[in-house]
Amino acid sequence: MIACHNLSKSYAHGQSRKDVFKGVDFTMQRGDRVALLGRNGAGKSTLIKLIGGVEMPTSGRIERRMSVSWPLGFSGGFQGSLTGYDNARFIARIYDRDYREMKDFVEDFTELGRQLKMPVKTYSSGMRARLAFSLSLAIEFDCYLIDEIILVGDQNFQRKCHFELFEKRADRSMILASHSNEMVREYCNRAVVIHGGRATTYEDVGLAIDTYSAL
């Protein structure tokens, strides 16, 4: 279970202050696949970062009763100047996994071949997505936090993700921030719409998508 209690986040820069959202309450159970919907800048990534523990809430608290992945997104989690292999080794070390097994899985899943010996900063966003997914799948979390990034993958990658994440690990939970209504409808059983600093939970994904599309 993951529960957010009265979560607020605001950013201060000098004198100015921006409230991203206020009083967000939201609970998800094991096995839930929650879609985060909202326009650009509504706070989807911020909410994912708070749930992932990357940033701290301004007020409120988060309860995590299952293992939660780091947010899989366009930035973060990697050191750009290090190679794909070095990053894999780092992650294997801090999550206490066997590096050789991880390496095999990463090579097989990413199909990046010799590119894995290059610094991650030279990767395209699709290549980063492959690496990020392969590392977090190798570690096996109960809940995956996915920030848009599935969409940048090509057909082959999307097929692999579909198999590894939605078939082989169908029992896992997931929070998916996405602008793809199709993907949300296909994979999620609940949805949260963030708008104007408020978050509304919908049990009916179709209704959520209609609300979001009307914004």
Partner: protein, 265 residues
């Protein structure tokens, strides 16, 4: 209950060790790469500093001062000083530089500060051993008379440096002005670090003031360990211990405060 708490503590300690180990290797890789001498570069800079400065002093001031070899004296002062200056420099903006690692919850901001300090300390120690062995071979450096005293002094000096890093790292995040003052502050610090003078060379009044500095106390201890009966060290081990404790607690509180508002890209 007590047992499970102990188990939790042990598990926490294990995670902590793993994270420190992984961050160390990562930091060494990003800073020095795997080309040529690789991580051995960490000792090159303190070596060059201590070596060159001591030779300049040797030619400017002659072979001895107050009965101790000038090369050995400058080396014994300069290696700890470079440790301090490098650690302070490395602590500035350390959170931003490592922010991508904050995606992993087991990595804490204090780990970044500690890892950078540890690398500098290891580098300085390697440089110290290297230069001392070479100079001892040439008869320019005494074999330490009291190794325990020397190492205690080194550890106290390092401890106070570490506690300062814990203060500077979060402060550099809170204010950009601070960053501009750091180079000049570490420069002004030199007379108060005991690098170029022993307390016994000074007048009692000046000595009394200088001994308020934790660095001077630790430096005196180190030099007492190196030269034994040839010098008169003045020190109080409680000064660096208490100062480190106070600075460390303030620093940890500041780190906690800054972490709450830290923006991670």
């Amino acid at each position: 209950m007590a047992r499970s708490n102990l188990g939790k503590l042990r598990e926490g300690w294990r995670i902590q060790m793993r994270v420190i180990h992984a961050l160390m290797i990562r930091e060494l890789n990003t800073r020095f790469g795997r080309e040529n001498i690789g991580f051995l570069w960490i000792m090159v800079e303190p070596l060059l500093f201590a070596g060159l400065v001591s030779f300049i002093w040797r030619f400017m001031k002659g072979p001895e001062e107050h009965g101790v070899g000038i090369i050995a004296f400058v080396v014994s002062g300069y290696i700890p000083l470079t440790l301090f200056r490098h650690c302070v420099g490395r602590s500035v903006s350390v959170f931003v530089a490592n922010s991508s690692m904050m995606y992993h919850r087991q990595v804490k901001v204090t780990d970044f500060v500690f890892v950078r300090f540890l690398i500098e300390m290891l580098g300085a120690m390697m440089a110290y051993v290297f230069i001392a062995v070479v100079l001892i071979a040439f008869g320019e450096f005494p074999v330490p008379a009291n190794m325990g005293m020397f190492i205690s002094g080194w550890l106290l000096y390092s401890l106070f440096t570490l506690s300062l890093c814990f203060v500077i790292a979060p402060l550099s995040e809170m204010s950009e002005v601070l960053e501009k003052f750091i180079p000049v502050t570490t420069y002004i610090m030199i007379p108060f670090s005991g690098t170029f003078s022993a307390a016994s060379w000074l007048t009692p009044t000046v000595r009394e003031y200088l001994l308020l500095s934790p660095f001077v106390n630790a430096m005196e201890l180190m030099r007492g360990g190196i030269w034994g009966g040839k010098v008169t060290p003045y020190y109080d081990v409680w000064n660096p211990l208490v100062c480190s404790m106070v600075a460390g607690l303030i620093g940890l509180a500041l780190c906690r405060h800054v972490r709450r508002t830290l923006v991670v890209e």
